[in-house]
Structure formats: C-alpha cells, structure tokens
Amino acid sequence: MTLAMDKRRMRRIHVAMACVASIALLLCLLLGWHAPRQALLSYLVAGIFGLSLSLGSMALLMVHVLTGGAWGYYLRPQLLAALRPLPWLAVLWLPLLLGLHLLYPWAAPGAMADAALRRQAWYLNDGFFIVRMLLCFGLWLWLASALRRRLDRADDAGLSRFAALGLIVYLLTMTTAAVDWVMSLVPAWRSSIFGLIVATSQVLAAAALAVLYAALRHRRDDTPSHPPAEPACLLGDVGNLMLTLVLAWSYLAFMDYLTAWIGDLPAETVWYLPRLKTSWSALGVALVVFHLAVPFAVLLSRQAKHRAGWLLAVAALLLVMHYAYLFWLVVPSFRPGGFALAWSDPLAWLGIGGWWWVVFDARWRAVVQPSASAARVLP
C-alpha cells in the first residue's frame, strides 16, 4: 500500500522533472537564437556530463566482470540503470551537429585561410568528424546493450573476454570522442593523455553516482527487497573505490599539467593560458580543493567511509565537481576575458541532466523494487 503510494509520488516527481527539463531545453533553444555559440558550449558540457555517467557506469560494470567482488553487485542496479539514457543522449547529440560550424574553429567558414588548420583538415573535417561520432555512438550503444544482455544471463562463458575487449574499445572510442569534441575546440592544442584523463573522470563520476544512490538507500530503510549483506563493510569498499579513482584522476590531470609546464611549448600552453592567467584560475583552484583535497582527506578516514552520511556528501560533491571539471575543459577557451557564466549553462545542465535523471531513476526504481510492480498487478 505505502509502496504503491510511494510509487505514485515518484511518478509525479518524474513527470514534473521531465517537464522542467523540457522547458529548460526550450529556453536553451531560445537563448541559442540570441547567442548560439555560448548556448552550444553549455549544451556540449551538459551532454558530456550525461554521457560521462552512462559510459563510466558501463566501464565500471566491465571492470567488475573482470575483477569480481561484492562492491560490484552492490552498485550494479545503479550502474545498469545508468546505461538506459544512452540512446537518448545519442538523439540529444544531433543539435551539436547542426552547430558544428559555430562551435569548432576548424569548421568555421573562413578556416581554410589558416595554414595550420589546413594542415589538420585531413582529420578535422565535417564528414570524417560525423563518421567518427556515429562510430563512437554506435559502438557504445552496442557495447551497452550487449553487456546488459550478457549480465542478465546466468552464466556466460565469453563474458570476461567481452568485458576486456569492451574496456579497450571504450578507451579508444573515448579518446577519439574527447579529442574530437573537446580538444578540437582549440585546434592548436595537443595532449596525448587527454582521453585517458576524461575516461578516468567519467568512471569516477559514475562511481560517485552509484555510491550516492547506495548511501541514500542505506540511510532510508524503507526498501525491504534486496537487503545488502554487510552494508558497513561494503560502504567502506566503495569508499575506497572512490578514493582510488580520485587519486587516479588527480595523478593523470596533474601529469598533463606538469608536462605542459616543463615543456613550456605553444602546443600545450595554448590551452592552459586562458585557464590559468585569467580569473578562470579560481575554477582550477576549486577543482584542486573540491575534486582532490577534500574528497581525499575525508575518504582517508575509515570512520567516514563506514558512515552513509559522509559517503553521501563526498559522492554528491564529486558529482558536482565533475560538472565543474567538464566546464573547465570546454568553456574557458571561448570566454577568454575571465570567469563568466551564461544563462544557458544552468539551463542546459537542467535540461539534459533532468531527462537523464528521470530515465535513470525510473529504471533504477523498477530494478530495486520489483515487489512494487508485483503489487500493482494484484488488486
């Protein structure tokens, strides 16, 4: 009875959120009339944010197939639910194709007058870009659905081989996508580690979301189905997982900065200069403090890791900081005057993030509360 009521309440929240998200996307479109390039930037950041959570979850599921461990079964409902919005994201990517010429300097009308851009044109051209984008999304959609199908089967002999290959494909496609969608915004910039950094941050964001939901569920004891076996110990395990991912992301991101700093060459500094020599550097400091120092310090403590409340706070912080990190990756090169927000930034985030959440949350609830759907069938 209460479960059914809860379900109705959640449905209302989902519908409301979907409406809010749709309105936000419409407003984004209106703003796009006014300042198309800034709106497209906001949209790109929000799109990659949604993609991060889905693809990171896919990577974590495949890592778990290879390593095993109770943490993976604990997080699995969230990770599987996070795969659901992936086809929607592929649809939401289409407006970016329409705005290609506004967003990317190499696709801008006068680009071929620039000798450096002409040299890059064999790779950075409209046709090849779209082919790569279709290939990446095609591979991701195939990997996600195949993984879901194979995980549903009780025993699958080729599962670990599939997961190992899938991880390799994920890294290669993510590097391609990160170079195309983010790095080519500054065509003079290069960094061979960039794809790996983005992939690591995606896995971190996905882990943070999964832990957030696990901790929420741990705090509210109204989900009698699927009781977690040893929650305190498992909370510690997933806390350690987040700690490791925080360190891995920080290490890779710092190594990229260190090589740019030591090399001091235009191909690398062209990207860092607008970020460090203007008021955007405040965002960089915020990333060091809230994406590394604070989560690291909290997750070092065993007491904190065994408390759902603390884990909840750290996971929420990491999710917010992942958005800040993507913003840092994409936006400053196009607002070189210093830190600036556009109206389209929160609207695009609300629009894409809201739809992502509705699809994810509805799926997640259907998985963890099978008794609720069963109760609905009964009179």
Binding site: F254, Y257, L258, W261, I262, D264, L300, R302
Partner: protein
C-alpha cells in the same frame, strides 16, 4: 590471583567457523584479552576478538606528512637557497616539478612508518613465545585453529577459563606455561 608461571589457557577447534563462534561467545562472557591463531586469515575473526584502538593510522599519516613536506623543503632549499640555477628562465622555486618527488617520498615514508611502527607495536621479530610450549600448537601453521585466553585478562581465573573453553566443545584444552 593470576599465577606468574601461566600465560593463559588454550583450546583447539576443528574449523575457522567454530573458532570465530568461540571467540564471539567468550567476548560475550566478558573476556577481553583473547588471542586466536589459524593457518589462514579468517574473515571476521579480528572483529570477533574485540575492538582494537590502533595508533598505527596516525603514525602512517605523520610519516607521510613528514616525508612529503620534508621533501618539498629539501627541494626548495637546494634549488632556491643553496644552489639556484636558471633553467630556461623558469622560476627557481618550480613547485609543479617538486611535486612528483614529494609524492614518492610521502608514500615511502608512510610505508616505512607503518612497517616500523607495526614491528615496534607487536614486538616482532620475537625469539620466544609461550604458546609454543604447548606441543600441538605446531598445527596452527597446518590445520589447527587455536584460541587463547590470556592470564592477564581481568576476568581470568584458571578453573573458570578452562571450564569456559571446555563448554565450547573444543578438540582439546591446555594450560599454556609462561
């Protein structure tokens, strides 16, 4: 009163699960100074033996901090104060380049503090331990699961401890001479 010639009372069990259960029951009976020995790590056994407050995490943290901050200070001293060299016009205090060495030294010093602190804390390496006075204890490295109630336990009484162990249906019970 406790006999200075007695280290404690030892019981052998047939499996890891009974060992863990026995440790839990003795804890409930009020014993706090328990020791368990098994041929392999038994999950949940350490928790069953009772809460331990270890100062080791603090020591590891301090070791790491000393290593990291010390290495940063050393690099600053050598590159800025003692022997400044102009490398391609970069500042003498090149903090980004100082960090990798500081990170490595943080890990090294934290690990060394942990290992040395662990050895100092648990008294290893140890040439003599009373539990080896019981001949069958050699099985602890093969297939024996042993539980010891130490004589310095505030609840310890020779007869009561022996009876408490016998009540747990062990394979054998021995008094351990000190």
């Amino acid at each position: 009163m406790t006999d200075p010639n007695v280290y404690g009372c030892m019981a052998q069990f047939d499996s890891a699960e009974t060992l863990r259960g026995a440790a839990l029951q003795l804890r409930h009976a009020g014993y706090t100074r328990l020791e368990a020995y098994s041929p392999f790590a038994v999950e949940g056994l350490a928790e069953a033996l009772g809460p331990t407050r270890s100062r080791l995490p603090l020591l590891v943290l301090l070791g790491g901090l000393v290593g990291g901050v010390g290495t940063l200070a050393l690099q600053y001293y050598s590159a800025v104060i003692d022997y400044p060299i102009d490398v391609g016009g970069r500042p003498a205090a090149s903090w980004p380049a100082f960090i990798p060495a500081a990170l490595e030294m943080t890990i090294l010093c934290a690990v060394l503090a942990g290992v040395v602190g662990m050895l100092l804390g648990n008294g290893l390496p140890r040439l003599y331990h009373p539990v080896f006075n019981v001949p069958r204890f050699a099985q602890a490295s093969r297939d024996g699961f042993f539980l010891v109630i130490r004589a310095d336990d505030p609840h310890y009484d020779s007869d009561h401890a022996r009876q408490a162990l016998i009540d747990l249906a062990p394979l054998s019970v021995d008094e351990v001479p000190a």
